[in-house]
Each structure stands twice: as C-alpha cells, then as structure tokens.
C-alpha cells in the first residue's frame, strides 16, 4: 500500500480498461493469433509493461503543459541574454518574466521554470542525443523542463535517469462471462497487494459472495463453488476527494486458485479478426486476414509509481539544477492522466482499442 518517507513517494495506480487493450509483441507470434500481446514470462498473464505506461505518460504531460504555456514561452534569445552561468540559472532568473498576471493561476508544476523551453519533442525518444543540453539548435529533449527532469533525458554532456519509476500494470480483476452475468476473477495474492487479506480456495474450486451456487462457469470452465468469500466492502477505486471512479461490489468478485488464474485469463482474452478490403471489388483481400488478441474491456489493473526526491543529486552537476518537487511531479501525472481516456495506450488506438481510466492514489 502507499507509503511516503522523505525520499520516495509511492502512488498506487488503478486502471480500468474502457476499451480492449493491445500492447503488441512486435509481430512475434506462436500459435493461433497473429498479433500477440505482452505477457509476464513467469505467469504467462498479459500485462501493460511499465515502459509503455512511462512512454505514453511522458507524452501526455507534454501535451497537458504545452496547451497552456505554448504561447507564453519566452524566446530562446531572451533566456540566453538573462543573467546566470548555466541555462538552469538563466531559466530561474527569467522565471516567466512576461507572464500576464491573469496567468498566475497556472498550476505550480506548469510554472516550473524549466518549462519555459519545453517542446513537443520532449516527449518520445530524443532525436539529437549527440547535442549538448544547452544547444540552441537542439530539437530533441530540452533537458530542463519538468518532463525531462522527471522522466529522464540523455544528452552529449549529461545524462539524467529521472525521478519517476513505473511498475508494470498487472491484472487485478479480470471480467469473465458466467451464466449469472459478468463476474470479475482475482486471486488471494492479488488482493493482498491492495491490502485485502482473503484465503485462497482449494484446488479447482472457487469462492463467491453467496457461496451456494453449487457450480459456476467461468467462460468454458465449469468449477465448483467452495464457499463464500469474506470481504464485504465494495472495492472503491477512487481519489482522495471520494470522487468514486469505479466500483466493484463483493457480488461481482470471484476468487479463483492461483494456478487457474492464468488459464482463465488466457481463455477469455478478446481475439479480433480483421481483413483488408479491396477498394475496387469491395471484397476481402486474398491473404490479408489477421487476428489480434487484446485484454478485454472491463479489466482492472494495478501497479505503482514511485517518485524519488533526488535533491541530493543536485550537487553532482550544476546542470541538473533546479529539480522539480515530488508534489509537482505528482500533480503533473494527475493532471495529464485524462488523456488515457481519449488517446489511450498501446496499439490500434485509432480502431477502438486502448482507452483506460486511471486513478492515482497517494
């Protein structure tokens, strides 16, 4: 669960898939599906890798920042003419000098002094890692804004790992069809990760809220219901202001044995078949049929983000000053997560895949 000491702040990440999610393996396939998705090598359960989460979030923080500050950023020349030995110092001294007072309401993280030279290219991979961080004609990562300082950058003269560490998002609750409607399966070890102690069922048996169904089908698997599970509270995945984002009632949840979880998940993934259409004839193109698998809509994921306060590193290198505060990075993540609800994550996002609803809980 969340923890905060003076150097590391942990944020819990809950994500609800509002579309099927497809994080591909680059066309690497074995078996019946052409476009397979990333899985954990040990459990074989699909996941959203930390690198996919970090890459998209980096882009979304840039988008969120630039929409408010793009026309307020000073010219490079103005920064260069400012007093100071390093670009960092010049940026601190300039400090949004000509920002109209009406814009003072900009949130603190957007006013981070490094953002004065943030560019869209601060997202994604750096185009010009061979240039110095204070190079004027540089078109890659600027090396100064909250994104470069928070997510890391690498230039000819200095590399910085960043302050944000992302874990993978693992499946916490997975929706399956039963004759009693859709239920979400989980395991006792997964519940333990979010602080719920619940006994695991015996081999090949499951536990439900009622516990008296006799048998229940989870997709094609027909399993005996062993007994009731004991947690009675709704699982509310919500932010601090009790603004509930999504809720599962105890009736929605079924606890399955650890060894069956992977089988049930992999048997109930969405597999979508697509084909190219010949525009002239309107018929399917020969040899163009392909299948893609995806984690289905309704899946709930869990992971964590750690924010490291690396003030201790400022002494290492003058060029690293100033570093953003952990609260500023946390706000940057919170204020930009809404992009996951529109632009999404992973592949085929233009074709009904990829949207997530994310909650960050300190």
């Amino acid at each position: 669960m969340s923890e905060k000491n003076n150097v590391v702040k942990k944020l819990e990440v809950y994500a609800l898939a509002t579309d099927p999610i497809h994080i591909g393996t680059g066309g690497y396939n074995i078996g019946r599906v052409d476009n397979t998705i990333v899985r954990d090598p040990i459990t074989n359960i699909p996941k959203i890798p930390g690198s996919s989460l970090a890459g998209t979030w980096r882009y979304y923080v840039v988008l969120e920042t630039l929409k408010d500050i793009k026309d307020k950023q000073p010219d490079w020349q103005d920064i260069k003419n400012e007093n100071g030995d390093t670009i960092g110092e010049k940026l601190e001294n300039y400090d949004w000098k000509n920002l109209p007072s009406s814009d003072i309401k900009l949130s603190s993280w957007k006013r981070f002094v490094g953002n004065q030279i943030m560019r869209i290219k601060c997202a994604g991979q750096d185009d010009t890692p061979d240039k110095n961080s204070d190079s004027e004609e540089n078109t890659g990562h600027c090396g100064h804004c909250i994104v470069c300082k928070g997510f890391g950058f690498s230039k000819r003269d200095i590399s910085w790992q960043g302050m944000l560490f992302f874990s993978d998002l693992n499946i916490l609750f997975f929706p399956v069809f039963t004759y009693r409607g859709t239920k979400w399966i989980t395991t006792s070890s997964r519940l333990k990760e979010i602080g719920i102690e619940e006994e695991a069922p015996s081999e090949n048996k499951i536990r439900t809220k009622q516990g008296d169904e006799g048998h229940l089908n989870l997709g094609w698997l027909y399993l005996e219901v062993e007994s009731r599970h004991t947690f009675c509270n709704e699982i509310k995945i919500c932010n601090k202001q009790e603004n509930i984002s999504f809720t599962l009632t105890p009736e929605d949840v079924i606890i399955v044995p650890e060894n069956l979880f992977s089988h049930i998940v992999n048997s109930n993934l969405e597999v979508r078949t697509s084909v190219s259409i010949d525009p002239i004839t309107g018929a399917a193109k020969e040899g163009a049929l392909f299948t893609s698998e995806a984690i289905p809509r309704g899946t709930i994921f869990y992971g964590e983000i750690r924010i490291f306060d690396k003030k201790g590193f400022e002494g290492l290198e003058e060029k690293l000053k100033p570093l953003p505060k952990d609260k500023e990075l946390e706000d940057a993540l919170k204020d930009s997560k809404h992009f996951y609800e529109t632009l999404g994550i992973g592949g085929m996002t233009t074709r009904g895949f990829g949207r997530l609803k994310i909650e960050l809980i300190p």
Partner: protein
C-alpha cells in the same frame, strides 16, 4: 571495519547490460561488483543528501571494496561460477542452460509521440533474468553511516537497465557480518586480497599468470552523458577461472568486483 554479507531478494526482472548484438541487448547472468557499486551509491545518495562533489566522492569510495554478486535459490548458497569442459557454469547450470531456464526477452519499440506509430528501425529485444533468485555478495564497510544504511530500514535498490520501467528492483533481505568461512568461500583474505582458488571476482591479468578459464577485456564506463566515457579498460581473468598458485597475491586488492594490482589502483 569489517566485511558484511549482503543478501538481496530479487523483486523484479533484472537486465545487466552485457553486449548488444544488432537489436538484441543481452543480459549478464551475474551482477558484477561495479554494477552493484553503482546501484548502492545511487540508493545511498537518494537517502542521504550529499553537500558537495567531495562528499559524493567519499560516498563512492565507501562502497568500492565490494565483490561480484551471484544468484542463489535459498538465500544461503550461491550458484558458484566455474569452468567445466571449457564452458562457463553457474552451479550445475552451464551458461546456456541458465539462460534457457531463467533468462527471457521482451520485444519493444520506440513510438513516435506525435503520430503515435512505431518508430522505424527501433524494434529491439531486451533480455532479463526472471525474479526467481536471491543475490549474494560481500562488502567491506569502514564507515558507521554506511553500516546504518544496511542495518536500518532494509534498503531497496534498483540495478541494471530500464529501472524506470519495472525492472531492477532488489530488496535487502539480510545483512550480517561475514564469518571467516564466508571470506574463505569467497576466496578473500580480510584485507581484500585473493587466495589461489577458483575466482569469484575478476583478476587483473599479467603475462606471468597461468590460469584455466577465460580472459575478458573489461571497460569501465561513466554513464553521466549520452555517449558513455571510457574511464578504464583492462584485461582480466574471468570469474570461474582457476589460477595457478604461483601468483603473488600480496600485490592485489579488491575493487568493485575486480582484483586489481595495487600499483594500478584507481
């Protein structure tokens, strides 16, 4: 001022950069001392802010007398490095068997942020060791504050590559004073000199050394800028090799997993 045995539990997959074959980033199958040194200095500095560059250099020095770290299933006995029939082994596993069983790979690509499509020619394969192990090694501690760092709230460290994306997390499971048999087992004397057995740390090569095993060119790189700067490169006798007993051990001392001749000390 004594040797400590550190036992880390691997919590996430780890990638210890070894070699790049085209688009494949291969992982090493044990943790070299210099990699562990970097991770420990990093973790210590996050917790204990340094005042200036001098203090940072002092901290870096405090962690220098450290061995390589090897995998263990039970947190007690390591998979010993050795050469058998000309092949490198960890315990009973040849390097190939170990990789087959415990090393997996992910395929990844960079994405163009604006078009959000996969970036051309950026697909790469990234190997990692799955989290099935404890990692054990020794460190000599001469500073009370460093001792407290290990004995207080058990530190978590991030090691190797892609640590921002769900790789590299190790949690200290146990740290205790190393006994004489531990030092013996790691082929070390109390003052950090090698004894003449199968090596668990690299040994700087000299033309008069007779050994059975392999020779490696080991560069030490400074990663603080985009193009890493070479700070040191020498030939070493690889871990697992057996060294002839005629070697004059008094002239060597351990430094970040490598026995270096005193005259060549950094």
């Amino acid at each position: 001022m004594c040797w400590y045995k550190l036992v880390f539990k691997q919590k996430q997959p780890i990638h210890i950069g070894k070699f790049e074959w085209g688009v494949v980033s291969e992982t090493e199958i044990f943790i070299p001392g210099w990699t562990m040194w970097g991770a420990l200095v990093n973790a210590y500095m996050i917790k204990n802010k340094a005042k200036d560059k001098n203090e940072i250099q002092e901290i870096q020095k405090d962690f220098e007398t450290i061995t390589n770290f090897f995998p263990s299933f039970d947190g007690e006995t390591i998979l010993e490095p050795k050469y058998k029939d000309g092949k490198f082994y960890l315990g009973d596993y040849s390097a190939e068997e170990f990789r087959y069983k415990y090393v997996k790979a992910d395929f990844k690509t960079a994405v163009e942020p604006i078009s959000r499509k996969a970036k051309d020619e950026h697909l790469y394969e990234f190997e990692y060791i799955i989290p099935e192990f404890y990692w054990i090694g020794l460190i000599k501690i001469e500073n009370e504050e460093i001792k407290n760092f290990f004995e207080g709230k058990k530190p978590e460290i991030f090691i190797g590559g892609d640590t921002k994306y769900g790789y590299g997390l190790l949690k200290l499971e146990d740290s205790k004073e190393a006994k004489n048999e531990d030092l013996e087992n790691w082929n070390l004397s109390n003052d950090g000199k090698p004894n003449n057995k199968t090596l668990k740390n690299f040994l700087e090569f000299e033309t008069n050394i007779k050994f059975e095993g392999e020779l490696k060119l080991i560069p030490e790189l400074d990663f603080r800028q985009n193009t890493p700067v070479l700070t040191d490169a020498r030939y070493f006798v690889n871990v697992g090799s057996t060294v002839d007993s005629s070697i004059n051990i008094s002239s060597y001392k351990i430094y970040k997993g490598k026995f270096i001749r005193n005259a060549n000390s950094p």
